[in-house]
């Protein structure tokens, strides 16, 4: 057990690490490896599985039907992330530069919807958008529409539900990075003749980049794996990868294809995040 080179595993260390090794090894890593194995397997009857080296499950994603779902998933996830960033940044910025008392209360107000249930947050939009509900009443009252129009079960409804659900995930890390921000840097920039616009883009924004990156990842990943929002607010035209995976596991009982889809989703997300962090992360940080 003990390793040499002065980085040995003392009994104390082994004691501290054995519970986590057991739990995450058995209930996180082993299941993932099982899915990897299944993704190369062949589906039998009723969820049965024949292992092997069958790459057909991966080849199936090339079907235009599935490619379209993958593409749609990424578009919705990217749009959700962008909208959360565009809306969340001014909010986090505003809160971060208030007095201490106001800051605490305002950020708590952002957190309360987050601490209530995710399902409830999505359900609220079902109530608003459904049938001749509040949203349709408002549209007619404002004279934008003459009668009730179909709002729910559309891609826009899904996007709305996603932005609403994930906005707090964006605001919190942004707030954390802006709150620790040294205001004197802003003042120095303005003393040196930069206007507020310049100061923001050249000083404040680059320094808040860690928050932007953290927030984007915190929104993008669950958004790309989402299946509740499209289930409740979307229709057949808004099926996302999450729905497809769920169908393969629970309805179609094709665990091999479902596993391959999960692997594809995980790998695509991993690549997207690495690309994003390299690209956005280093560029902007060096400028700052």
């Amino acid at each position: 057990m003990a390793k040499d080179k002065g980085k040995g595993w003392s009994p104390g260390l082994a004691g501290l690490l054995s519970p986590v090794t057991f739990w995450l090894g058995l209930f996180f890593l082993a299941p993932l490896l099982l899915i990897v194995a299944y993704s190369f397997g062949t589906a039998g009857v009723y969820g049965g599985m024949k292992l092997g080296f069958n790459t057909n499950n991966y080849a199936q994603i090339a079907d235009p039907l599935y490619l379209k779902i993958l593409f749609r998933t990424l578009v919705i996830a990217v749009l959700t992330t962008l909208l959360c960033l565009v809306l969340g940044y001014p909010l986090a910025y505003f809160i971060a530069f208030r007095s201490r008392k106001w800051r605490n209360n305002l950020i708590l107000l952002v957190m309360i919807p987050f601490w209530s249930s995710l399902i409830i947050r999505v359900y609220a939009w079902v109530v608003i958008l459904s049938g001749n509900g509040i949203a349709n009443h408002a549209l007619q009252f404002l004279g934008i529409t003459n009668g009730p129009v179909n709002l729910i079960f559309t891609p826009k409804a899904v996007l709305m539900g996603m932005v609403y659900s994930y906005l707090p995930f964006m605001v919190l890390p942004l707030y954390a990075s802006l709150e620790s921000f040294d205001v004197s840097l802003k003042e120095a920039s303005q003393d040196l003749g930069a206007n507020r616009w310049h100061t923001f883009w050249r000083v404040t924004f680059p320094l808040s980049m860690p928050g932007v990156i953290a927030g984007s990842i915190l929104v993008f990943i669950p958004a790309a794996g989402e299946f509740v929002v499209p289930q409740l607010l979307g229709g057949a035209k808004t099926t996302m990868m999450g729905n497809l995976i769920q169908q393969q596991f629970l309805d179609a009982r094709n665990w091999a294809f479902g596993s391959a889809l999960s692997m594809i989703l995980a790998v695509v997300l991993l690549v997207a995040i690495i690309f994003y962090v390299r690209r956005v992360g280093t560029d902007k940080l060096e400028v700052g």
């Binding site: 995450l24 099982l34 509740v228």
Partner: protein
């Protein structure tokens, strides 16, 4: 000088940009209007949310009589408490190891913990489902708790670790110099010092467990709905007035807890 001027500009706030002010107002409206709509319709005597049929508390009475919701609530509490205790214990030990020791394979632990936090929930959910089926563990409360511990450990570890890293080791060394053994040093010196972080990690774990839908959805099996699963099954087919009442209760409860919690926290900070 610069410290003074910066603290002044922060406490007074900059002259608020009208546009920013208006935008922030709209964003808070965006955050709270949907919740207000739910609360409003929870008092609607009509079943529909398309019109107002008069004030009524009938959906609250229906909520109290709903055995399925009450049982789901108890299940969520049990799962939340049990999984939080286990995850906090395991996560805290792991945090101590990762913050204090340099060892071979450390980066493997780091990346596993990181991967666990960023892995899409649906992938974690279906992989656990496949695993439990493969090893013939029947789905139910036990599998839910196992899954919740697995996704909560990393969050506890991350929160506690940052506290352990910032800890002054001289106190523990002093205790050991004075003859305390490793276990009594841990219990009487280290643990009290990291306790705020342990509590913070536990609270985070409980919140995540209580609200988890996706992973639970796959590992729950039949007849062990937690509260989010129960709500989902009720709203899957559209508007449910009982859920409007339940949502109102949950949101008010969260607001009370947050309000009381922040008062206590702020008083402590001031003291």
């Amino acid at each position: 000088m610069s410290i003074k001027s910066s603290s002044i500009s922060r406490s007074l706030g900059r002259v608020p940009d009208r546009a920013l002010f208006a935008l922030v107002g709209l964003l808070y409206l965006f955050l709270y209007a949907p919740i207000a709509v739910l609360m409003f319709f929870s008092f609607n005597s009509a079943k529909s949310t398309e019109f107002w049929g008069g004030f009524s508390t009938r959906w609250y009475s229906a909520l109290l009589m709903d055995q399925d919701i009450l049982h789901a609530f108890y299940r969520s509490l049990i799962v939340g408490v049990v999984s939080t205790i286990i995850a906090t214990a395991i996560g805290t030990l792991a945090a101590l190891a990762l913050a204090r020791y340099r060892f071979r394979g450390k980066s493997f632990y780091d990346s596993t913990i990181y991967a666990d936090t960023v892995m899409p929930e649906i992938v974690v959910g279906i992989s656990l489902l496949a695993f439990f089926v493969a090893v013939h563990v029947p789905l139910g409360l036990t599998t839910i708790i196992i899954a919740h511990v697995a996704f909560n450990i990393p969050f506890v570890t991350i929160v506690v670790r940052s506290r352990v890293v910032g800890l002054d080791r001289s106190l523990e060394e002093a205790a050991q110099d004075l003859g305390a053994g490793p276990i009594s040093t841990f219990l009487r010196v280290t643990l009290p010092l990291i306790f705020p972080a342990v509590i913070a990690g536990a609270l985070l774990a409980f919140t995540l467990s209580f609200d988890d839908f996706v992973i639970t959805f796959f590992v729950a099996g039949v007849g062990s709905n937690t509260l989010p699963l129960e709500i989902y099954s009720m709203v899957k087919l559209g508007v449910s007035p009982v859920v409007n009442a339940l949502s109102t209760v949950i949101i008010i409860a969260v607001m009370v807890v947050v309000f009381v919690g922040s008062r206590i926290f702020m008083r402590k900070e001031r003291a």
